[in-house]
Symmetry: C2
Subunit: 620 residues, 2 copies
């Protein structure tokens, strides 16, 4: 019942094997100029004819015989016996050998007179000046640039011969539905070949996505066999693991051979490298970030062997904010957010979950933790590969702390200014610690002290002596979310869903429980923790729990009931030294903007100074 | 008859005027995911539903009730009363709250037993783990990356709303023919809007090329009016200058207003900026490199005002090899070739001819000589903007000296190794001077000394004390090219076309004339100089001259007669210190390769050591 991987091969060995086992000869196609930008020439390209083919006027003026102009001067103008009006680009008639600019010509009664002699061939664009028939325009293996498209047109080339790597993408899985269809429970939108096509097309490959194939060996066999006929490389999405319905490896072995099953990378280990009819067949793991990693670290480098250019983003060094632990033996790739705090590049790892595609959307960089390493300590300097241009990464605004949906709206407000707000969800205490280490530009926090005050007590305690500022993002309502209007006093006897320890919401709950004299042990589900407001609301919506504590906007987003418990100050703390940072200024301006107040009003459950109801303490 | 420019405005002022006079509001379109990479979101994008919507197994194994597993150990295995086999991604049925990996399960008679307790919710992917319904996937003004296409599909977004800038391209000119048609004398392949479309599409615009419009004001008027209706920006190609058929400015003035006619840039001065129905209408000059400059320096920066991202290549500092002179008052843009000689970035200006599109193909960088500057001296350090990735520029092989068509073939042979051979045509003496200044990797040269020897005497004289090496590229035949088989002795009485002073071919001619006792003054056309072998052959082919001196391959390429005069050593000189440079080694390997010998044999007129006929001196 349980299938094991045939072998787990180190990444470098897998890449060498691919280079060694396959000749990597691309296909050759002719493409129209409109689609030639970025393509790689297959052979040298020659001019079909000379440009220009005949002498042309290089100026607006008159074509003359230079010998007729000898001796002309201010004192002795010459009226020319023969001359012809020409505009730039007109043919210089055969009897003439020079052009005089129109500004230097006097016309009267259809005759031209001049006051300066013309040198032979002046202002004449000689035949072949640009390029002559038979000359080479560009060599083989040249990536055609946008501005060269005009030159190719000029030299008579309308369908340059370029290399093509045809990649067939075969999505397998009975659970798959097409993008645009809302998946029923247990169904999944097929996104891996959608992503693979976008990434490989961008690298210059020519991808074909085949129809979905159900988890039936004979259907998978037919699909792979057909894809092998029609392509240079075949990629089979999913079915590469060791589940009961993972047939990909068996089918490849039947049709050809499996060279590798399992590469020591994380995510992405259950990758298959096989060969059918001398062609490489790659089995992609099913988790989206595993698939992403295999495409980026194995397929893209492999495509270069065929002659495609894969543009790599810049690599830089940065200080890592939190430790990354791993076992020895695998290369591990971690998606991260990176930015510049002061003059220091600072990088934070994102969730490692291979199913969390949002990590790929949020990330602007990634790190590779090498096979022999046990990971990185917080504060270590590490090698980083950027996923955006360096100039864009340098404009990132790093926010670490308690996440609220309004942070996304603030990101949206400042994005058009070229600032990317990157939020690391670390909870309020996590934000305060990041602030202490100067690892972020600002920390959103809502920490309730014993005396009922917000944030200041904690900042005093953990950041004593650091010059700080606090800007109130909003006062917001926390309350009980439920399907049927449960209140705080109704919690006992119902299934609860909790927030994680260290989060402001958890601290608020514990504070309120203590005030009300309720023992947490009496609340069923108190130990079940999730990490966001919306996750609490989702658990309630799905019926997994009856109640939880979250902000009003999360309850409203999922159309659930909400009974307020307390109003808290959700504030942005930052070091005064960064107050003039243009990115932070932009954020503060956005917090104070009417546009943001409108958003708060629309979302509901928030109060601001402008509403006249913002008070220093907390609301009972 | 002569129209003058209304005004000539500095570049910076023209750019400010564009920002000031136009609101730059983009259009909004929905694009399918297949075409969404690189597009800019118009507004925030939200998840249509939660992912996953229900708890899923995160591992292949069995779903269990965690309370049933309490107390299980190696000593006390527990056989579970209830459990369900699940693969990764399957729904965890509502009655279960944990998954145990299949590797930790023992199955017998359809029952599962375990030896370790399961923690609640272990290996369960909770609903909304990736993203919850209503959460923001990406903000406004976000450039969609290839790997994000899969995430968008997963979150139910199949047609993201993105910004579009619709640019209408109107080619005008009665002389235009479509790419693919061989232009008759005086006709021109329309390449400016072809190039503009490629460049602007790459920057994210949505271009429409309109049919050719003849040089008739009423037709131009109709075409521009229609393009204005259908686009956000209109670009009219050519007719922007001051020739008798340049109607563009008049038509724009009739339909709206001309804001600028003439911007102080070179090339590109006769640009028009106008406004019709509140929309910008830009008149592009006709010369291809003028058009290129206007698109790159005016249109692309302007597109950024609409919210498009225009990726700029890196800027670096480099030492310029030759002086660039210019008049004060214009920003001048010069296409260049750049590479690294040793650890030094070295840059050489290319031809300034605005009609020489090949300069754009050959260039991998350009410089901007500022308005207030009179130019640069040779050896000055200048600001450079790259036209290729910096890594590619760093791999350029710089060759300066006498150009022969075989250099292009050598470039073709080494290009697949990632090496870009960039040849600056400076003549043999120019190459020797570049070698002296260490401004190139190698110099192809064929300089005949009084004693009949090649190259060594000149290197001795000009590079005394420098450790040099010489590799013979080929011995090649120089001879008289003609339409009807003229020989050297027939020159008198026929129209001649000469090569420029300082070129090896000119020196060879002068040497032979002297030996034969012929006075150059008796040769008609001796003073008419062109700079390449192929230009000599072209002048003969077109009938402009009856004879000239060039290499055999140039005569053969244009199917002309060739009568040999001498055989000369065409050699590659380089400093020994660069001999181990991998780029130079690759070139030398290519020179010695059988592939290159085959090319020489095919072209004809070359001899090599391998043919057994290479001798140290010259052939009589």
């Amino acid at each position: 019942m349980v299938k094991r991987y045939l072998s787990v091969m180190p990444l470098d060995d897998a890449l060498s094997l691919l280079s060694r086992e396959f000749p990597c000869i691309p296909s050759i196609v002719q493409v129209p100029l409109e689609r030639a930008v970025g393509r790689i020439t297959n052979g040298p390209i020659f001019a079909r004819y000379s440009v220009p083919e005949i002498h042309l006027a290089a100026m607006d003026g008159i074509a003359v015989r230079s010998m007729d102009t000898k001796g002309a001067s201010e004192q002795h103008p010459i009226t020319l016996p023969k001359a012809a009006r020409v505009n730039t680009g007109n043919v210089v008639p055969a009897e003439y050998d020079a052009v005089i600019m129109i500004e230097d010509v006097w016309e009267a009664d259809g005759n031209y007179s001049i006051r300066k002699a013309a040198a032979p061939w002046q202002h004449v664009r000689p035949a072949g000046e640009d390029l002559a028939e038979s000359e080479m325009v560009m060599p083989s293996a040249h990536r055609i640039r946008a501005h060269e498209i005009g030159a190719l047109a000029t030299y008579g080339i309308t369908h340059p011969e370029v290399i093509a790597v045809r990649v067939g993408l075969v999505p397998t899985g009975s659970e798959l539905v097409l993008a645009g269809t809302r998946p029923a429970p247990g169904q999944v939108v097929e996104s891996n070949t959608v992503m693979a096509k976008a990434m490989l097309d961008e690298a210059g490959a020519t991808c074909t996505r085949y129809p979905f194939v159900e988890d039936k060996p004979e259907e998978i066999r037919n699909a792979i066999a057909m894809a092998c006929k029609e392509n240079d490389i075949v990629i089979v999405s999913a079915g590469s693991s060791a589940g009961t319905k993972d047939y990909t490896a068996d089918v490849i072995a039947e049709l050809g051979e499996v060279l590798v099953h399992g590469v020591a990378i994380k995510p992405g280990k259950p990758v298959i490298i096989g060969r059918i009819d001398k062609k490489p067949v790659i089995g992609l793991p099913g988790y989206p970030l595993s698939a992403l990693t295999v495409i980026r670290e194995i397929v893209l480098p492999f495509l270069q062997n065929y002659g495609l250019f894969v543009t790599e983003r810049e690599r830089i060094r940065a200080q890592i904010t939190t430790a990354v632990a791993k076992d020895i033996g695998s290369d591990e790739f971690v998606l991260c957010t990176i930015g510049k705090v002061g003059n220091r590049w600072v990088i934070s790892p994102q969730s490692k979950g291979a199913g969390v595609q949002m990590s790929g959307v949020r990330a602007n960089a990634y790190i590779q933790v090498p096979r022999a390493s046990e990971g990185f300590d917080a504060g270590e300097e590490v090698d980083v590969r950027l996923m955006v241009p360096a100039s864009e990464a340098a404009n990132a605004l790093l926010i670490t702390g308690s996440h609220d949906p309004v942070i996304d709206y603030l990101a949206d407000l400042i994005r058009p200014q070229g600032i990317t707000l990157l939020s690391t969800h670390a909870g309020s205490m996590g934000g305060i610690l990041a602030l202490k280490k100067d690892d972020c530009h600002a920390a959103p926090t809502h920490l309730l002290a014993e005396d009922g005050s917000y944030n200041t007590a904690y900042l005093e305690k953990y950041l004593k002596g650091t010059d700080l500022d606090l800007v109130c993002i909003a006062e917001r309502q926390q309350g009980i979310v439920s399907r049927d209007g449960l209140a705080f006093k109704d919690l006992a006897g119902h299934q609860f869903i909790n927030r994680q320890r260290g989060s402001g919401t958890r601290m608020l709950l514990d504070y309120e429980l203590k005030r009300a004299g309720i023992d947490p042990a009496t609340i069923s589900g108190y130990e079940r923790e999730v990490t966001t407001h919306i996750a609490v609301a989702l658990a309630v919506k799905s019926g997994e729990a009856d109640a939880g504590m979250c902000v009003y906007s999360a309850a409203k987003a999922l159309s659930l009931q909400f009974v307020p418990v307390a109003q808290e100050r959700y504030e942005l703390a930052f070091r005064k030294e960064h107050a003039d940072d243009p990115r932070l200024s932009a954020l503060i301006t956005a917090i104070r903007s009417p546009a943001f107040k409108n958003i708060l009003a629309r979302l509901g459950g928030y109060e601001t100074a402008e509403t006249g109801r913002l008070r220093p303490g907390r609301k009972e």
